[in-house]
Amino acid sequence: MDKIQLIMICFSFVLLLFIIILTRFNRIKVQYSLIWLFSGSILLLFSVFRSLLDTMAQFVGIKYAPSLILLIVVFIGFILGIHLSIIISKLTEENRTLAQEIALFANRIEKLEKE
């Protein structure tokens, strides 16, 4: 077993454990932990089953198989980043609507209190 393979197995394992702990203590909501758990599982799968990695690497034409892991990590990183941008945009939009509603309601309450 390569050193890099051992490192990757540890890394994926710790990542999965960390996400599960965070979710367990409500620091990450279950729906947002899914994408992490999925990514972590893929990493773990490829690190444990070296042959799977070798086959895949050969298939896409990468000579040094572990660098495929790196590629996968980068790829997952991108997807996660985009995923977060989507969530932030949604939150910004909702935040804006809420703030506007508060301003409009405050105005109505003020008017009612005057009457």
Binding site: I102, A103, L104, A106
Partner: protein, 235 residues
């Protein structure tokens, strides 16, 4: 006149000028309602605006930037069934005597957005050369997308129909909304026209568009415009 008219003034730290702006609109007509949207100012803009009788003040609990503030005004106008909505700045740049011109252009009910353009008669404050250059590029982009020449797409001195306001309640840009607004309007088959106005250089404060901001402004507006142009019109 049987039309309900509202002037909306988005204001962020405009304590030096807000009272004068409100009073000068009131001096034109007592028939017009005035709404100040206080975008979480850290000075006493709110108190000063309230000090002028019958001014409506909406307080945003968080600072949302110009787009969010204006949209709040639109939502208020839509709730209260206003027919004509005028937007002007709180810094004294927009000369209130043109408010009536904007309103008159709306009265026939055919126009949806009337833009007060300082480049039709080329009178008054014309802004710097660099800015005018940027504006020419914008003008070209907007023409490509809408097939309409807008001489002053960054002017925030505008009047809107209830129909336009209803559309903008659903969707409105966060920052630097003016050029994008034109594109959203045209996508929704609204009629946009321009009338000449004069603007003054602002009484106090500085433009938010300078230095690196102006580069961000150009890129943001152009990208937003391009994306808007490939989006479905009801989106």
């Amino acid at each position: 006149m049987d039309k309900k008219i509202l002037v909306i003034i988005p204001a962020y730290n405009e304590s030096f000028s807000i009272v004068n702006v409100i009073k000068s609109i009131k001096s034109i007509s007592t028939y017009i309602d005035i709404l100040v949207i206080n975008d979480c100012s850290i000075d006493n803009t709110e108190e000063l605006a309230r000090s002028v009788e019958s001014t409506i003040v909406l307080n945003l609990p968080i600072n949302m930037g110009i787009g969010g503030a204006i949209q709040t005004g639109f939502k208020y106008a839509a709730n209260k069934n206003y027919d004509i909505i005028v937007r002007m700045d709180g810094d004294g740049q927009h000369d209130p005597k043109y408010v009536l011109d904007l309103i008159k252009t709306m009265l026939n009910g055919k126009n949806d957005i009337v833009i007060g353009s300082r480049f039709i008669n080329k009178k008054g404050f014309q802004s710097s050369f660099v800015r005018r250059f940027g504006k020419t590029i914008l003008q070209f982009f907007i023409y490509l997308i809408t097939k309409q020449v807008i001489s002053d797409s960054t002017s925030g001195f505008r009047a809107y129909s209830a129909r336009a306001v209803k559309i903008f309640c659903k969707k409105y840009p966060d920052d630097y909304p003016e050029p994008e607004e034109v594109i959203i309007a045209k996508k929704n088959r609204l009629k946009v026209i321009e009338i000449p106005v004069e603007m003054r250089s602002r009484d106090y404060g500085k433009s938010s568009i300078k230095g690196l901001n102006s580069i961000y402004y150009m890129i943001k507006v152009i990208i937003a415009s391009l994306i808007e142009s490939i989006r479905s019109s009801n989106g």
